[in-house]
Symmetry: D2
Subunit: 211 residues, 4 copies
């Protein structure tokens, strides 16, 4: 018999990076999407912390600490404490934002931090994407985020992206959708449901070390 209701000693934690180009406090569609993602996680008892990446001084580089003034080490600690990491990115020119790229780049350090068993510190964590734009580009942002997260040790549950875009050359904003179309909302909940399931499984049974 299949058991869908796995039990765990402690709750799961999600960390979401809002990789908007906008300053904190400005209306942000990426922020609106991440609020909906957090609400969907809450329905599973998963708490989400959202970090507005552009408000932090994440220095360019690919080491876990790039020295004085670097805010990444504190953010990296949040990644380490999370079971699920969501990259929330707006779409510009059909591509992920430079801020999303910066966050992913800083996790490149995981590749050299495997220890003897060849497992990156991210092994066992689940990755996901939340992508919004005026028009076109979500699937490709997903592709870039998936490949980066997968290279960096994260696992991906099916349909790992919550997204919305408008018609070609449109100027609509996710944050102005009242209500969000039900097909989009369904997909957000599905992304969350699958990510939570996978995160529980991996916490219970981590990937094996190199023999």
């Amino acid at each position: 018999m299949t058991d869908h209701s796995l039990a765990f000693p402690s709750t799961l934690r999600a960390l979401a990076f809002n990789c908007s180009l906008k300053a904190v406090g400005k209306p942000s569609s990426t922020g609106a999407m991440l609020r909906d993602v957090a609400a969907a996680f809450a329905a599973h008892g998963v708490e989400t912390e959202t970090v507005h990446a552009a408000a932090h001084n994440i220095l360019p580089g690919t080491r876990s600490d790039e020295g004085p003034g670097d805010d990444w080490p504190a953010l990296r600690a949040k990644v380490m404490a999370a079971d699920i990491v969501v990259i929330g990115s707006p779409i510009w020119i059909g591509q992920p934002s430079s801020v999303a790229k910066r966050v992913l780049e800083r996790m490149d350090a995981f590749i050299a931090e495997t220890g003897k068993d060849r497992r990156m510190p991210s092994y066992g964590k689940v990755g996901a994407a939340a992508v919004v734009g005026n028009e076109d580009g979500a699937h490709h942002v997903g592709a870039e985020v998936y490949q980066a997260l997968n290279d960096l040790g994260f696992s991906l549950a099916p349909n790992a992206m919550a997204y919305w875009v408008g018609e070609a050359r449109g100027s609509g904003e996710y944050r102005d959708l009242h209500p969000v179309p039900s097909s989009t909302d369904d997909a957000t909940r599905m992304m969350v449901r699958n990510a939570v399931h996978l995160a529980k499984l991996l916490r219970q049974a981590p990937y094996p070390p190199k023999p």
Copy 2:
């Protein structure tokens, strides 16, 4: 205590698509890579069936059966019977082969085959990539394959790609590497180890249906 040695009633099955542009029987680096992938699966007790996609008449389209002469329905049945599906693609112009694209396109039908519980027939299956080229392009082929497979319901374990490419503008072939560099070999084994672990977990505990 963490249990890495999950027990299962039956063995896992892997299906690999060789998406080479070459005819069956011609020397194929994609074929050589997939033999190494199959050997790595065998070490875990997982049997791999490899399909030379270009030898089959996979009609253009996005339905599960495109009518008379279509070889896809029989291949689709193999996908359905597999726990792990590997897309093996050569790199041409830095991109996946047209044959790999055709195989992925035919699985687009899964999106409409969800039934009431909103789970595609691929849910619970694990995807992976095996990519070779003379030079450059593996990560991008990985990105395209990951995004397609993830959209189509597959889960991805960390480092889900076995790959090799030579130096820029080189003409080396994976099939001529004797031996394969140990870093490449290690990565192939890691891909397989992680995929097997995830496939076992998902067979034991499928993704939950839409509530």
Copy 3:
């Protein structure tokens, strides 16, 4: 003084590949877009021939002639006779169609057909894309087509893509838009206007050979 009205001894020719997955005669949004592209070319006195690629037996491979039954050599002759080549592709899973990939792959042979002066047979030709889908993916299809065409010797005028996609998870079709939104129509005309200008310049003044 700038002269925008360059004179030429003969008219320019455009070749468009309809890379739909559908059979000839079926309603095709890619076909509808290419009719609008052809009309825009006609307004500049440029004749467009459109090839329904899936109706031809374009064998897998990367040589200019893959042997008996291969329809590519005849299509390649059309490419050689054209000044402007348009890749018309539908979007499936956010990516170019397998048929578009096949057409691009067959032009890979140009890389080895440079002769002593290092110019591919495509040098001097202008490339462009025409992309439609129910939702999302045009910019990425553009990226794949641009990079492939550029690697294969084509030049690209600004805004080299005519495209339309609907809202996320929509099911609208370009062929059902009556009328086409003016912003989309403007972009199609701009793509064509720029491509024609560049093709005239390059016919007049070819790229120099390797010294």
Copy 4:
């Protein structure tokens, strides 16, 4: 008769962005590649200014001036004065650097700066890429840069990328290649030769305005 030696009243100018993640003065393979690119431009009488982007405070955003402390307006003026713009990017996780993305994002403002004739301020300028990495990823970085530059109004001559990468999982550096392989060097010269030719043509005969 074809005239390859077009005459111009003034010399052409190239602007190269070094989008390395490293601080100025650190050994940079992207910097080494851009020096070779500049030398190739010099052979055509084209002067190259290279900007180390990470040494400037390019604020996140998509407007031409993001306010106090923004270094972009001064860099934008350099773009405006250039005939050819080269995006020099290292490869991280198979993708363009966050710094390259930032530079491209800031040019997104061009889309709204067209004036009545619908030509962006970048129309007539030629774009190019210079990409280096330890291994794998150049073609995809090229695809992202090409699509962004093309959307933003730049033209692309054939083979618009100078690049080098090493074998899969290698750790070689372009800056340590003495000499650079002749095939790589040839490609750099070809990129430059074609870009210069196209820039000359477009200065002589700009793209026509919207009728």
